[in-house]
Amino acid sequence: MSLLQVRNISKTFGGVQALRGVNFSLDEGQLLALIGPNGAGKSTCFNVLNGQLRPDSGNIILAGRELVGLNARQIWQHGVGRTFQVAAVYGSMTVVENVQLALLSKGRGLLPVRRSTSHYFRSEALNLLEGVGMHIQADRPASILAYGDVKRLEIAMALANKPKLLLMDEPTAGMAPKERHELMQLTCNLVKQRGMSVLFTEHSMDVVFSYADRLIVLSGGTIIAAGDAQSIRNDPAVQEAYFGTGKTFEI
């Protein structure tokens, strides 16, 4: 059954048409990769999905609910978590405080004022951190983490809301190959444990082909191909979009 349906989404910035009529769907429990060359519109697509940007037209249906027109907070309440292309965590807090804050969020209203933050959800936060292997570093300032660890912390924060759908914008960018596979293995495990779905963008084809259940290819703001790894690899339109002609994915 499909969890997410994206129908005919378009978005323009001034003169740049970043998305033109994007259509795709994502099944429950699926790990879907959104790939495409630089500037294809992947991040824009994510920003539209999590309500950070409002599309010019189109619909986004998540588990039967329309998301277009909702803001980022409301979409978060409907069970969409995300990580950013440039990882965004709170540098002025410790690792565990980052996750505690994520657990404290209720989508509306003010956060508590009665007691100090250390009293709220510390053990739950440590559990989440353990899930991504970050519990040992719980009390370090987030500003001094290694980049791979920042990415894992971001995932723990996104999981705090038990999302149905996790959006990951280039989760492994800037990582060493070994770290990449660890992170993606972790993601796969989380998908299985939690029964959630993941949409991720990625430039590393190695990662995409090893972990994605299905791929969609975005180029110039439109989906030019969709299917499993094998069919995408051999699709001439995709090869054209990525490499011009002549090269293939087998590097």
Binding site: R73, V89, Q100, S105, L110, L111, T117, N161
Partner: protein
């Protein structure tokens, strides 16, 4: 009063003439902001310098058409060069510094220029010769209109046209436009940005000085010109959209005409009208008529951020000791020192309330005096008109400030960074101008005098304990909020708005409440001050009052919760000593001290210590 067509026509022309003048000053500020991203508080100072120098030169030169206009143009050019000098000596060193630090530096420059002007030209108001050949008046439907104003009217469109030619027809213009849109592009174009910044500063300050020089036949020249021109300039730039010259022109037209006709219809409340227009524009276009949303923040308010944690044992023992000392102080020290301590405590509360939104919330409010001054006036009015007792009047002060903060804050939360700073400054300046203009209520320049405290707090010692307890409790409340999830949400939004919204936390709501809390405590501080001084004065709403809080925080260090307290003691001590020994040179010394501090210790004293300790 019946209005003839002549009256309307003359007011229209007055409005146009005023618009042109506003536009010249605002265009200069806008050009400088557009390229350097510096809010130049000293912009009004260059305007004032232009006027003073023009008076001297036109008096010195022969009283001919050439002599007069030569004097005006020379004044503008010379002050333009002074602008370049200031840029080269001071601002160039701090382009990479946090925005508030830059702002503080420009305030230091403002102080220095104030004092230098006073030293050169004295405190007397100056009158300039009238423009030869333009001393007559036109008759319009039975009303007269000075010919000189026609020149002023023309000057706006002429300068707009020249700026347009400059930006679209010259290499420097293209570079300035490119740099306004994207600062990094300048480097990519292979331009020496040092020279570019000098050119921009020359252009901007020259425009301000030219505007000042043009006004000399129609205005008196005095030492208040620098700050009084800032209000309207800031409103024009905010309404027009920062960095947009055409926007500044449209806004100047709007504000100028509104001013002219507003005076006819509601002579007392032109500024209220002006602020309403600003509010309406900002509701629909938060970045002004032709402004563009600010790109990703170039840098934070601070250079580094460390997690906050409750103080260590020795830290707490130290502050407990301070509290004990403060509690027993009246038994040891006389009334003079008690007064000093009261002033320091009030300053600490005032600065701590700003720190709550600025340091914790990351909202660079430049107009915190709005709440301080409002609190002072609220206490003064409640006491003198209603005769309420001291504690009630303080409650009214806090409440008035809360209401104002709720209204101003509602506009502010849509903006961030430098735009927010600008808007808060504009709000505070409007309040200041209202206090000056609404003489019947506020006593204008003289303020409201003769306040008495209730008998229970009449003695200085009793009042000292009242101030100490209020400040202590208020600071504890804010500290508590900072450690509560509410405060974490504020810091989260400061670190990353996108992340925080994506986590389901309502950034605007938290910021709005923070602004309200901060405004309330700021108003309380103002109220305490009024009761201490026995009066409320327009100074309490002035730019320098806002800047005081900023200086205190930056001296103490933005990242420490005790920074405002440390800073208040240090700043108060320095300022009173300077004033005591230096007489009217205090501005010069304070200005230079600020500039030096800013260049040497961008992290503040407590921040410096904390950073050293963290190593």
């Amino acid at each position: 009063m019946s209005l003839g067509i002549g009256d309307v026509l003359v007011q229209l022309l007055n409005g146009l003439s005023y618009s042109s003048f506003l536009f010249l000053v605002a265009a200069g500020l806008s050009v400088i902001f557009g390229v350097t991203r510096i809010i130049n508080l000293a912009h009004g100072s260059f305007y004032m310098l232009g006027a003073y120098l023009a008076v001297s030169l036109t008096t010195l030169f022969p009283p001919t058409v050439i002599g007069f206009w030569g004097g005006i143009v020379c004044a503008a050019l010379v002050i333009g060069l002074v602008g370049v000098l200031v840029e080269t000596l001071v601002l160039r060193r701090i382009y990479e510094a946090p925005e508030l630090v830059q702002l503080l530096a420009t305030f230091g420059i403002l102080l220095v220029i104030q004092n230098v002007t006073l030293k050169i030209w004295g405190t007397e108001e100056l009158f300039a010769p009238r423009a030869p050949g333009l001393t007559g008046s036109l008759r319009l439907f039975g009303r007269s209109f000075p010919e000189y104003h026609l020149v002023l009217i023309l000057m706006g469109p002429v300068v707009l046209g020249l700026l347009w030619l400059l930006s679209y027809r010259t290499r420097w213009g293209v570079l300035i436009r490119a740099a306004t849109q994207d600062r990094d592009m300048v480097g990519a174009l292979g331009v020496n940005d040092r020279v570019l910044f000098q050119v921009v500063f020359f252009l901007g300050t020259m425009l301000a000085a030219f505007a000042g020089a043009l006004r000399i036949p129609v205005d008196t020249i005095n030492l208040q010109m620098d700050l009084s021109v800032l209000t309207e300039t800031f409103v024009v730039v905010v309404v027009g959209g920062m960095g947009s010259v055409l926007g500044a022109y449209l806004a100047a037209l709007l504000i100028g005409l509104l001013h002219a006709f507003g005076i006819m219809i509601f002579p007392k409340i032109t500024l209220v009208l002006m602020s309403l227009v600003m509010a309406v524009v900002l509701v629909f276009r938060p970045y002004g008529l032709l402004g563009k949303p600010e790109g990703a923040a170039r840098k934070g308010i601070l250079a580094i951020e460390l997690p906050i944690k409750p103080g260590s044992l020795s830290f707490n023992v130290f502050w407990l000791g301070v509290l004990v000392v403060l509690l027993v102080a009246p038994m040891v020290v006389g009334s003079y020192l008690q007064t000093v301590l009261i002033e320091i405590l009030i300053l600490a509360l005032y600065a701590a309330s700003l720190h709550f939104v600025l340091g914790i919330g990351g909202l660079p409010s430049l107009g915190h005096a709005a709440y301080f001054g409002l609190g002072a006036y609220a206490v003064a009015l409640a006491t003198s008109l209603l005769g309420v007792p001291t504690l009630t009047s303080l409650t009214i002060a806090a409440f008035a400030a809360v209401v104002a903060a709720a209204i101003f804050g509602w506009f502010c939360i849509r903006l961030s960074g430098i735009y927010l700073a600008m808007l808060t400054l504009a709000f505070a300046q409007i309040m200041w101008s209202i206090a000056l203009q609404w003489v019947d209520l506020t006593g204008g320049d003289n303020g409201i005098l003769g306040l008495y405290r209730s008998p229970a707090f009449a003695s200085i010692t009793a009042y000292y304990y009242l101030v100490l307890s209020i400040c202590f409790i208020a600071v504890l409340i804010m500290r508590h909020l900072v450690f509560a999830p509410f405060g974490y949400a504020l810091r989260a939004a400061r670190d990353s708005v996108l992340r925080t919204e994506a986590l389901g936390i309502d950034v605007r709501l938290h910021r709005w409440i923070a602004l309200i809390i901060s405004g309330g405590f700021g108003g309380l501080a103002g109220g305490l001050q009024a009761l201490q001084k026995g009066g409320a004065f327009p100074d309490g709403l002035s730019v320098s009052q806002s800047i005081d809080a900023l200086v205190v925080i930056l001296i103490g260090g933005v990242q420490t919760l005790v920074g405002p307290i440390v800073g208040a003691a240090a700043y108060f001590g320095v300022k009173t000593e300077i004033m005591r020994y230096l007489g009217d040179s205090w501005q010069l010394v304070l200005g230079l001290t600020i500039i030096l501090l800013v260049v040497l210790f961008p992290q503040g004293i407590a921040g410096f210590v904390k950073q050293r300790a963290a190593r």
